[in-house]
Amino acid sequence: MHELSIAESIVKTVIKEANKRNATEVYRIGLKIGELTDIVNDALEFGFQAIIPGTILENAKLNIENIPLVCLCKDCQKKHEVNRFLFICPDCGGRDLEIKSGNELDIVYIDLEYDDK
């Protein structure tokens, strides 16, 4: 259940960014999560909901974009999506694959609300 630690890291970073900008509320957080991070969206949501009460993220929603695992075959230079974590090139059978996407664990954006003054 490392999703709870991941949720804590997200909340910490977002509070810092929101405070820096004097926001009064964070209402949405855009995330990119790669397939190889072993993070389950539901578990992350669950952990997130458990720790936000009483913070400026209290009403925030997570907008998660899941990023598929894509590799470049070093032998034939072709890019392909990796299915079921079989790191074998479907074109040439090569096994020397470079991960091009799927490792992401990024906060992309935050939607903020300010006091109208």
Binding site: M1, H2, S5, I6, S9, I10, K12, T13, E17, R21, Y27, L31, L36, T37, D38, I39, F85, L86, F87, I88, R95, D96, L97, L105, D106, I107, V108, Y109, I110, D111, L112, E113, Y114, D116
Partner: protein, 224 residues
């Protein structure tokens, strides 16, 4: 007025900052660092007990040993001759992070060691996400587990450089097939180096020791 702010930050940026600090210090002193991971009970501590006894003072090894509770493993390693053993009790957390490592790392005299090994919490999921500043992850699996474990935990086997298969003296006692586990692991990571061992009969341990001597040598000869 609501506003969208693009911040583009890694969720684990704080962890990665500590990991980078540790990696930099180790690089400066040319000390290799392994992050040893496995399920509970595969034999991480046994492997390290043998390693400490084998090298005695010939190679000075510091070990940071993580557990959810108890210092039992740290005691075992000290009893095996380990002089620089630093326990971390996570108190529930299922993995070590670089901030925890950094805290104990500061208390290790890096001039006094040849090798740093981090024995992670027994878990094949969460530790794969946390960079601890290591040169490589070594994943341990034993013949009393399923030979499909690499397929079940692909991230860990993909992110590891070496797989040690332990308890090979028990081959034939279960349905575990050596060729199957290797095939499954290599399908996920074609560059994985594989070492077969038995901590009970000591079979294959010489290959593990050779591997450790090699990484110490390699780190010394890395060009500035």
């Amino acid at each position: 007025m609501p506003e969208r702010v693009n911040i583009k930050q890694k969720v684990l940026s704080e962890n990665d900052k500590f990991a980078a600090q540790i990696r930099e210090a180790l690089k400066e002193h040319k000390i290799p660092c392994l992050n040893l991971v496995s399920s509970p009970g595969s034999g991480k501590t046994s492997l390290l007990e043998h390693t400490l006894k084998h090298f005695k003072d010939k190679i000075k090894i510091a070990i940071i040993v993580g557990d959810v509770q108890t210092e039992n493993d740290a005691v075992r390693l000290s009893d095996s001759g380990g002089k620089i053993i630093r326990p971390i009790i996570t108190g529930g957390a299922c993995h070590l992070d670089a901030k925890m490592i950094n805290k104990v790392f500061e208390n290790i005299d890096i001039n006094e060691i040849d090798l740093l090994i981090i024995e992670n919490v027994g878990n094949l999921v969460c530790p794969s996400s946390y960079d601890l500043g290591e040169d490589m992850k070594v994943v341990l699996i034993s013949t009393t587990e399923g030979d499909d474990k690499p397929s079940k935990y692909p991230a860990m086997f993909r992110r590891s450089s070496v797989m040690v298969i332990n308890k090979i003296d028990l081959l034939g006692m279960s349905n575990f097939e050596l060729s199957k586990v290797k095939e499954n692991a290599l399908n996920i990571n074609g560059n994985l180096q594989i070492i077969d061992t038995s901590c009970r009969t000591k079979e294959g341990l010489e290959n593990w020791y050779k591997f450790l001597e090699q990484i110490i040598e390699d780190k010394k000869t890395i060009l500035e």
